[in-house]
Amino acid sequence: MKKIDKNRLILGLAAPVLAIVAALAITSIIIGVTGKDPFHAYQVMVEFGSKADSQVWIINKATPYYLSALAVAVGFRMNLFNIGVDGQYRIAAFFAAVVGGALTLPGIIEIPVIIIVAMAVGALWAGIAGLLKTSRGVNEVISTIMLNAIGASVIGYFLQDGRLAKKEGNLIHTPYLPDSAHFFEIPTQTKPIYGFVVIAALAGVAYWFLLNRTRFGFDLRTVGQSETAAQASGVSVKRMVVTSMLISGALAGLVGMPTLLGVSYNYGTDFPTGIGFTGIAIALLGRNNPVGMALAALLWGFLERTGTQLEFEGYAQEIVGVIQGVIVLCVVIAYELVRRYGLKAQQRKVGEELAAQARKSDKAEVSA
């Protein structure tokens, strides 16, 4: 047992280390090819990224990324590719903003109402893809991409002066949320951290608990590992598809909340887009592990924070995008390599121990 533990530890560390080393090597080559000094770039990034206000910025940036990754990961764990988190969180945030803007309630009610509306709308939007998959066999990748486009158009229709939004200068946005809906902030020595980071952390814990400690989570993972075995074990795969899409969509509904409740207090033309896609990269990077994804989201924030600084040092603006892509690729490849190696090593080890057992009991026997 002891030995396996040690191996497990080494294997567990091997993949991220391998990935990071490979990613660094490849990026260094790329930067080198552009005629710049890669090590100086890393130095700049580390120095700038570790500044106090950078850390606040990174955490604030990582919070929606993390929520988005959770939403994607729920799908990943059962082999569903919810590419529609982007549309889900936007439409969820939009209607949550509309509802929140129309109500004036004490914060203790107002905020939960807004969050629940967002989760419900997100779940509904994702649920459509789930239903289409189970009833008509429509691949969820296709349907969620389509729903992204439809969602954008729905928002575009309602987000106009006189419909559900109003104008403010060159911006069009939903009415402001009442002050009671402003989420708390965590003050630091520089800028404050969004209070929603607490919700994100709780969502991470809930995700872990749901998947690893409940029957439902076990069923979900079973479907992800082997649909046939899941069916034979008594899981209704269809119902599971719909349920997990609903959960994924509800989590996606949370993605826009840090911005809505902590920064903009409305849904306007300048509401951030694309976080759903970033979530896919982060879920891949974090291997669907709640802690892994948190680290990945922070890494993403770090890269975006420090990327701007690199521009000042004369590095190309695109270099950060390249680094992000390379890291995801390296991680995916490294994990797959390590996983295969680990499986083989384990099989060998099992064989080895059994042979050892056999040898012990084999003494007396003489072959015929």
Binding site: R8, L9, A52, G156, N170, N212, G274, E304, R305, E311
Partner: protein, 343 residues
Amino acid sequence: MRRVSTITVAGISTAALAFTLSACGSSSTESSGGSGKGVGLAFDVGGRDDHSFNESAARGVDKAKKDMGIDNKMMTAKNGETEADREQRLTSLADAGYNPVIGVGFNYAKSIEKVAKDYPKTTFGIVDSVVPGNNVDSITFGEHEGSYLAGVAAALKSKNHKVGFIGGVNNALIQKFQAGFEQGVKDTDSSVQVTSQYLYPNNDKGFNDPAAAKDKAKGMLDSGIDVIYTAAGLSGNGSIEAVAGQKGAWAIGVDSDQYQQPGLEQYKNSILTSVVKNVDVAVYDLIKSVKDGKPLTGEHKYLLKDDGVSLATSGGFIDDIKDKIEAAKKKIVDGQITVRTSP
């Protein structure tokens, strides 16, 4: 499983430890800026080479460099940015000591307001929006007035008596273009039909989507429209390209004198004129004022009478109707005509 979680727990605690340790460290914004490294220019989507709005601003910066030897740093936004990204860009520029720091485009309004407070010694400029703050220069233009003249030219040049307007995004700024253009057309020849359309109701992608503008323009051309005025930043290139594909049709450019744009060289014979928004002039003014130690702040409108907007004459396609345009211009300058700012 259990063991994995021990590892991860170890991981988090190390990370948390490293985090708290370094959190006590310095802040990146400790220097308060204002040290005069040159001009910091933050573009909206499309970047410096949009042959239009951004490029016009960049020209002002280039001129400042030539005339006064003032250095600059230009940075560009990506599609789908958040407020935090824009704030960071401005903060970085201010922090690095650039002064003035100019946000090119109304998307920077909110972030300029915030960042300007953090850097009281730096002068900020914002184009196309009005932002409060005693170290902010809000630069706006009389787009509606320029567009009125474009409307006059379009009405006179259209053979089919049908002209079109394409806006990138349906917001207050672009509506100014639309309103002026429509008024100009109607005042010149009330029988001319104006069709106004927008690429996106509320997505800034409208300034960065030439393909969409191309499709829109093609549709207009098919319906018999033969003069198209496009106010959509970089997207306008697509519209011009479509117009150039049809004989006898004219495109009206925007922001810069698009006839002169090397990137649009092959279509220049279809560019009737351009409503030039002299962002370069405004930017240059701001830079100069900062250099002279008397930074401009408050609201500055660059109207037709200040040559803040004008109608380009390159190519000589509107030379024949020059008089009528001059007459219209005079009426506006004199206040005989008040151009509407919304349709």
